[in-house]
């Protein structure tokens, strides 16, 4: 599968480690800083219409959740929503 190439391996590892670093930083960030980042992201993506769909679908609800109630630090308090009651 070409994984013999050490360079390819190094590349894969670097990618994974960077992803892990960013994710950790994101999770361990204080809530307010995270919110600032989200809003900055929102402002930036507003200027790029090609990102409009992603913005509506994922970014905006994420911001709404962050602004809303509950503590960001514990997944136990996230509300899943909108299933029509039968």
């Amino acid at each position: 599968m070409g994984l013999d190439s050490l360079m390819l391996q190094d590349f894969a590892v670097a990618l994974i480690v960077l992803a892990a670093l960013s994710f950790s930083a994101w999770k361990l960030m204080p809530a307010r800083r995270r919110l600032q980042l989200l809003l900055a992201l929102d402002a930036w993506s507003a200027r790029h219409p090609s990102l409009a769909r992603w913005r509506e679908r994922s970014l905006k609800p994420r911001i709404a959740r962050a602004v809303g109630p509950g503590c960001g630090g514990c997944a136990a308090h996230e509300t899943r929503s909108s299933q029509r009651p039968r």
């Binding site: 894969a12 994710f23 950790s24 204080p30 509300t79 899943r80 929503s81 009651p85």
Partner: protein, 653 residues
């Protein structure tokens, strides 16, 4: 201190007048509110244990846990109700309250939301007042109080089926006529049980009763008397009679609440819980361990040797995998906690322990937040909002992290399994005994700390107990399974999320810089992590921690169970040669001394290896001071305890 302003000083906005401001002109609002075409906010209000949260779940389709007693409902639970014409309505589940004159912060929040006092939460467009038909007077009284606010209102008469069975006769239509607001029977626990309510909500023609108090203000003493008068009038006119008593409940309560038998039963229940956590989890844990090992071997065999293989086998599987093994123990622990919650037993335990807790300066109401803290200190700390007295509440918050939370289980489980032989002393499992001792140590130290804090108290204001002991019910299997599933998901997302990410980062720090050619010893010692560990070792040597533990404690600050994963990674990296799939437990069993293991256990009883907890304390106390004090005293206690334990065990073994 004014007892009408509970909780954190300054957190509840506005003064709490006992008289309405007579200088302000009273505005009496009388209207038929037809609300159209704007995002609508509905608030659910009711006394604790009226089934309000079950109704909330029914309306929003949300799969949340239905808590059976006050104090577990988190501040604001919002959900979405999608109407037949596609409109989205937001539903707010307000904390249960007995009155709009609050005695706890929880109740103050409900009042403030209804009065529109909270800056980021406007007053709801519609209030659904949930009244338990079985306990009609207490719920109806609140409904009358809410009615005086003048907000559009619907009364949901819940548990009509149970009421009928217990011989309570209420005519919803008659009540509607008397009150002047729609009265809708609901059975929240049944499918379709809220349909009638949804219809009324969607019809959009809500009625706002005439407001009896100026908008935004609280009711006065005269109002309270008037409400009582109206209530008694309603009850006698409706021919209401109290529900038939179930004699079994009385007999069970006589036993469970008995001063001696009750306490013994409580102790027995807790003991069984801890024994079960070990014995029932044995088989599934072995299975998971085997699966992880096999996965590691498989991966190592199918990838060419190199950084990628090392990352996957040591970082991912060795790291995150070693935490995954503890899933069965956590499931069993939560099974017991949820079952006890659902059954209604926990407030009875609070009753039994109130005297004991009072002697160290805690309110009996602190029992429930402290018990919740055995799952996770974060909801436990948030649950302290039901404690009226600020000093009591602060004490409870400061000792909550001492309760053995579920994240400690992987650490305890690993060390006990590795270092304590699985002998049996009579009917008791030695390992289970040690676990019980650790849990007991957490509780005892918490009581001691509370006692010390009590000595520093300047005032001793009376804090009431007045706790409701809800009727018994068999734990609802559906609720239980849902609750367990939630817990499993949370655990898996933590493992697959932050724990995995941190392990990858740790792997990276443990691999680079690479050892110079011709170096002896495991590669990890030359890496960044290794050097950091060597430095930290100076700090931790007096308490018996080796450099591997020292390294593991750093990412372990993010969450307690991360330390297990980190140890997994570090030891996997330290494995000489091709031995990449060695499991963590035997390595520890073979290389650590009992003293080191005991010392680490003692460390974990106290150390605040959880940044999230400190963050929540900051949020709940509105200052940096308390989380810093908490971190300080806990680390100090941890170091001292580890020191003593290490020296004592080493001398004795």
């Amino acid at each position: 201190m004014n007892p009408a302003s509970p909780g954190t000083p300054g957190r509840v906005q506005g003064p709490a007048p006992s008289q309405p401001d007579l200088r302000a002109p009273a505005r009496f609002i009388s209207m038929d509110a037809a609300v159209e075409n704007k995002p609508l906010r509905i608030a659910l209000v009711g006394v604790p244990n009226c089934g309000k949260t079950a109704l909330f779940n029914r309306l929003t389709g949300s799969r949340q846990k239905v808590a059976n007693y006050p104090g577990v409902t988190v501040e604001r639970r919002e959900g979405e109700l999608v109407s037949t014409d596609g409109r989205s309505l937001r539903v707010l589940d307000l904390p249960g309250t007995y009155s709009l004159n609050p005695t706890t912060l929880d109740e103050a929040i409900t009042r403030d939301v209804l009065l529109g006092r909270l800056a980021d939460t406007p007053a709801p467009d519609l209030v659904v007042c949930v009244v338990d038909a079985v306990h009609l007077p207490i719920g109806l009284r609140l409904a009358l109080e809410v009615k005086r606010l003048g907000l559009p209102m619907v009364l949901a008469l819940n548990r009509m089926d149970v009421a009928r069975r217990r011989g309570v006769k209420i005519d919803a239509a008659w009540l509607c006529g008397e009150l002047g607001v729609p009265v809708v029977p609901t059975v929240a626990v049944r499918r379709g049980g809220a349909d009638a309510l949804v219809e009324v909500i969607e019809a959009g023609r809500w009625i706002a009763p005439r407001a009896f108090i100026p908008a935004g203000q609280e009711s006065s003493r005269e109002d309270a008397d008037q409400i009582q008068h109206d209530l008694q009038g309603l009850l006698s006119a409706s021919g209401y009679s109290p529900p038939r008593e179930n004699p079994w409940f009385g007999r069970i309560d006589a036993l469970l609440l008995h001063p001696v038998a009750g306490l013994l039963i409580l102790l027995a229940v807790l003991f069984v819980m801890f024994q079960a956590v070990f014995s029932w989890a044995e088989a599934p844990m072995t299975w998971i361990e085997g699966a992880m090992n096999a996965l590691g071997v498989f991966t190592a065999a199918h990838l060419p040797a190199g950084p990628l293989a090392s990352l996957l086998v040591n970082g991912v599987i060795g790291g995150a995998g070693s935490v995954l093994v503890f899933l069965p123990q956590i499931v069993i622990l939560f099974f017991f906690i949820l079952a006890l919650e659902d059954s209604g037993y926990l407030p009875r335990a609070a009753y039994l322990l109130d005297r004991l807790m009072g002697s160290v300066g805690l309110s009996g109401r602190a029992f429930i937040p402290l018990l919740s803290s055995h799952a996770c200190a974060i909801p436990g700390i948030m649950a302290t909002r039901t404690i009226p007295n600020w000093r009591d509440r602060l004490t409870t918050i400061m000792i909550a992290p001492l309760m053995t939370c579920s994240a400690r289980l992987p650490v305890y489980g690993l060390l006990i399994a590795a270092l304590i032989p699985a002998k049996s002393i009579g009917p008791f499992n030695q390992q289970g005994l040690v676990l019980f001792t650790l849990y007991a140590a957490g509780i005892v130290s918490a009581l001691l700390v509370a006692f010390v804090m009590k000595q520093f108290a300047r005032d001793r204001q009376y804090s009431p107990l007045m706790l409701e002991l809800p009727d018994f019910q068999w734990p609802h299997a559906g609720n239980l399974l849902l609750g367990l599933w939630e817990r499993v998901k949370i655990f898996m997302s933590r493992v697959g999320g932050i724990i995995l990410a941190l392990m990858i980062v740790l792997w990276f720090l443990s691999s680079y810089p690479e050892p110079p050619p011709g170096a002896t010893g495991p590669a990890i010692q030359y890496s960044l992590a290794g050097r950091l560990g060597a430095m930290l070792e100076y700090v931790f040597a007096p308490i018996g921690f080796n450099w591997q533990i020292a390294i593991a404690l750093v990412p372990g600050l993010a969450a307690r169970e991360v330390a297990v994963a980190a140890l997994g990674t570090v030891y996997a990296m330290s494995a000489a040669g091709d031995d990449l799939s060695a499991a963590l437990e035997p390595v520890i069993a073979n290389t650590w001394s009992l003293a080191t293991g005991a010392s680490l256990l003692a460390w974990y009883v106290f150390a605040p290896q959880c940044l999230s907890t400190l963050a929540v304390v900051k949020r709940e106390t509105n200052s940096w001071r308390y989380p810093l004090i908490m971190a300080g005293y806990l680390f100090a206690l941890a170091y001292i305890a580890s020191f003593i334990t290490f020296r004592v065990v080493r001398a004795w073994a």
